[in-house]
């Protein structure tokens, strides 16, 4: 499809004559992936900021971490027959 501007038509014909580099598709895909990672990081960052703003959220995060991280002690108590499931 041709436009009415001869300068633009010349320019577009010159662009079409140039072969695209081999790595262009990889480059585009990597950029898309990077954008996705940045978006996810920004979500985590926003979540961290929200937690930092509230004392209750900070305590909740610490307690959740404690519950997960202390699971080996729970297993130890179970093995020592102090806990029965």
């Amino acid at each position: 499809m041709m436009s009415n501007d001869p300068m633009y038509d010349d320019w577009i014909n010159q662009r079409r004559a140039i072969d695209s580099p081999d790595g262009l598709a990889d480059c585009v895909m990597a950029t898309v992936q990077e954008t996705e990672v940045r978006r996810k990081q920004s979500l985590l960052l926003r979540l961290a900021q929200r937690i930092e703003e509230s004392r209750l959220a900070r305590w909740t995060a610490c307690m959740a971490a404690f519950l997960v991280g202390s699971s080996p002690f729970l297993y130890l108590a179970y093995v020592a027959q102090l806990l029965v499931f």
Partner: protein, 309 residues
Amino acid sequence: MSDGNTSRRVPWVAMSLSFLSAGIGHIYCGRIYKGLLLYFSWFVIPLSCFIAAFVEPSAGVLIGFVLLPVTLVMIIYLYAAFDAYEIAKRGGSDYELKDYNRAILYWLLIFVWLAYPISLIAGVREFVYEAFYLPTRSMNPSVVQGDRILVNKLWVQKQFPERGDVVVFRNPEPTGGRVFIERVVAVAGDRIVIKGDEVEINGKRLERNRIPLESLDGIRDQIDGDPFYESNSGKRYKVMYGDGPAAEIETDPIDIVVPPRNVFLLGDNRDRSRDSRHFGPIHAGDIIGHVDYIFYPTGNWSRFGVYRD
């Protein structure tokens, strides 16, 4: 070791990381050596338990080599979290990021943390010490219902059971519990004769002397029969008769020679025990271990420590 970027160290993040896995909070704050030391603190438990299993049982060994290391690891875990919080708080906002300050490393260490202590505990349980809770009265008045005992599994590798030893073994019958605890009364080659309450080993009747109830103060509520001291090959241990209806334990008279590599086991509460009188002698390979300690006695704590007859 650094890439020149600076970042603020957030105290609650340091604390949360440390709670997830001791030492990660320190690594997050740039204290990698201290962090790794705290991270691997769980190795203290198998090392000390291994040593404890090889030395002569004593209350000091139980406390120093089994209970203290467990307590120490718990204290280290809590200390690591609060110390990481303080380090991050003091650190300010110009912490220079190190090569290892990467989320992927934190997640990897946390994942390993959730697996490696459990493997160490399972290893100790499988090969060194296993704890058991006694749900029955079959060993009253020696080890009473509700006691938690520690069984040395390395003991079976070192020696063959002797008369008077209290052992835990795999139940040879398809019904009932997974394991039983009983006392070895006769070993391979012994001729054992049991008629009613009388037990004879190699033609010699086992002597019994009545125990005054006052001397069993801590476990009086568990004594429903007549306690005796029974002597067998120089060892003296407590047994009990008359607890429960006799019909429950009635067996035919026994007169057998214990086969090679087998032992004959009886529960100390003779009228409430299912033992070799019912299922015959047990192969030594079915013995799991020797009862070394009562680490959580029911009722009175005077029985805490080494299991003694």
